[in-house]
Amino acid sequence: MSKQYETVIGLEVHVELATKTKIFCGCSTEFGGAPNTHTCPVCTGMPGSLPVLNRQVVEYALAVGLAANCEIHQYCKFDRKNYFYPDNPQNYQISQLYLPICHDGWVEIETAAGNKRIGIHEIHMEEDAGKLIHDEWEDCSLVDYNRSGVPLIEIVSEPDMRSADEVIAYLEKLRMMIQYLGASDCKLQEGSMRADVNLSVREVGAKEFGTRTEMKNLNSFKAIARAIEGEKNRQIELLEDGKKVVQETRRWDDNKESSHAMRSKEDAKDYRYFPDPDLPPVVIDDAWIARVRERQPELQTEKLARYQKEYGLPRYDAHILTSSKHLADLFEETVKLCGQPKEVSNWLMTDAMRLLKEKGQEPEQISMDPRHLADLVKMVGENVINRTIARDVFEAVFTENVNPKEYVESKGLTVVRDEGALQSVIEEILEKNPQSVADYKAGKQKAMGFVVGQTMRAMKGKADPAVVNQLVKELLEQR
């Protein structure tokens, strides 16, 4: 390859909002359920049914827009996007084209290359489509409208990203931000967060953008990274061969690691948007915006700063802890119960992270009760159990959510501080190891370490090391 190319990427991210009901009807948004059990005349497009907007959808969209530094269209409207497909019961989707609720914002991302602002072109509200299940047996498709009408926001970025790293950082950033706002759980696997990648390449230094393609069906961060790589290479190859990139929508097949154009003669892509006459405009006054701002929870960047300042945590630790809203919540709730932020942070940073890695889980999947973690921290602080034992207890708390107090009691893991009991154990060890006594007497300090070790082993770790040290020394001296 003689020429140097630059990849230009913009993202369209769909996020399912965490409302209890659908955007235009009172049907539940609960995931799962037998086909079409969460449906009504409105979300199945029955004749004569009419949409009524769920207020919470606007609240969430506003919250996300404000967090992404967007301007708000204080007069916004819904438009109909017309296209035929069986998952779209009215054969139009209610969306926003002309006056989307939020526009012209940005988020800051952090990659190895440093910090960078990614522009947000707009955020709009719309309804999700139903689900198609393909029936191989009868060679037909089956339509389930349970997801039809679930509220979505679509976050459209500017073409500001230049690499897969930046794309992943941007998505992580959005995901974290939205989770912090409580506006969505943003699970890529379950489809509550979906990203379409718009990508073009151009020669380094070129002013104009190249022709872009839109890539769909990306179900994980890994798939996104692979698709970007694949599409970049495909486009460069085309250009190198003197061919042109065709503006089109492509579908990524992560198993084959390749994509194919989604083209059809019947798919004219002329959506005939027009304002939905069934839905009056939404007017968002300053007071409403102020209310949403006021209610806005502390976001990751703010938490990150506070953890360093208030708890004295190192930036790295604070970053890890705040990288998941769930983890940060667990941390804060635990600290509220037992204080000792550094101690709590250590448990989460080391043991919790290690266990997650072993299990191949995400921080969101931690089910540990903060009360249990707080009890554990307290027990260690009060020397009820020693650190070695505590790590085992932590694992039990982490994996089985056991109550650490009961666990320690039932297993008899409390530190033994009864000097009489310890004394007899040490005496016994000294009896069995006359050589060690001799060595000690001869001035070899190492011998004492051996005796302490033996004692701890005999006590199965339950002895207080400080007490053991003191006693061993005393008893050796006495010999």
Binding site: P47, G48, L50, P89, N91, Y273, F274, P277
Partner: protein, 506 residues
Amino acid sequence: MKILELTALELGRKIKKREIGVAEATKAALAQIRALEPELNCYVTVGEEQALIQAEQVQRKIDKGELAGPLAGVPAAIKDNMCLEGMATTCSSKILENFVPSYTAEAVKRMMDQGAVILGKTNMDEFAMGSTTETSAFGETKNPWNPAHVPGGSSGGSCAAVAARECFYALGSDTGGSIRQPSSFCGVTGIKPTYGTVSRYGLVAYGSSLDQIGPVGKNVKDCAAVLEMISSYDKKDSTSIQREDWDFTSALTEDIKGMRIGIPKDYFGPGLDSQVRDAVLMAAKVLEEKGALVEEFDLSLVEYAIPAYYVIASAEASSNLSRFDGIKYGYRAKEYEGLHSMYKKSRSEGFGPEVKRRIMLGSFVLSSGYYDAYYLKALKTKALIKKAFDRAFEKYDVILGPAAPSTAPRLGESLNDPLKMYLGDIYTVSVNLAGLPGMTVPCGKDKKGLPIGLQLIGNCFQEKKLIRVGYAYEQSRSYEEPELAVRVSESQKEEHEGERSAGGEV
């Protein structure tokens, strides 16, 4: 007793006084339906059994004092684009021929809550697209005044049924004149309320920003009472409006002294039948004699209402009717290859030519490259038309004019030239564009004996002014019914009365 001669309110009063039973009134209407339907075809579906069951239920509630409304027990009909749980709703289209909704339109529900007995669903132009009721997939309705003529449309079935005594009142819907024009052609009274007054929930949409349900009755009084009953602020319809007044019957006074009535000169240009013009101007004179101040003025923009209307209505319709795809309900083609072929075949076989014409036009004006030139331009024109009315209502309480340029045309005359048919909507469509209330009151007949209607237009939320003027005018003349309807009811009377004495009254 000549039950079928009664107005809805008169019948309601007699039912309340136990002079007439609900079942008796229902049977009388059903008998008239049976006798006249073969000739007129006002109904798509007659729910005889359901009506009789309902009649009994309503009678029981009246007897227990649970229903005391002025229209309790009065049999009525609804246009076949309003959903009624358990009864087919076809919009007079093949594409919906087997559709039975599991929900009831809010307006119909309110009617039934007040004790209406629903006789059936009335015929209409397919999806309310048409001005003659000839585009119905289930055959045209004929005008009871002269069955060689159309009843008008699209609520032709509702208006003809009222005129023919096949019900005591009916609901119609009006997107561009679909209540007012057939009311004029059938010699009955009809009101198109201010947009947002009657819930659209359960009304199968044609042009959502223009559609409004309204009453059709034998006189203004009945219509005012029906409107009062069906109007509501409905949370299921986001375009529903929380009005300040719903008490339309309180406006039923003859006193119109000092009311300012404007006659738009633009409504009396060439193209208006001279007999219609004379009858309408004569009516204006009557009102003047009753103390109203009547003067002519220039409304302006009248000729632009039709093109703007057809762009907006067709565009909305193209989107509203895309849900009819052969998947969830309605007609699916028998033979097709794959999904898109199924869509195309089902829709092409299921929709009639007029509906297809408007869907094609609507899809075109919204398509890429044309949206601004057509759709946006039409929305701007709509804004100008609204402004012209605003100016007029600074000077006048009510605007008076014809409802249609002519009386009912002969069957088959209108369909060959769609554009010509569209031009017949010239006096009605601007009212829908501006969201205003409008009313038609009979004001005479032409030489052929076909009825002529007077249209009254009010400012937004000023139904009461229309009702006042309409009622005052109505006092100057008596209600006329087509001979056919009267003759049939007369011939049935004996038979019916025999039945009654045999069955006895509870």
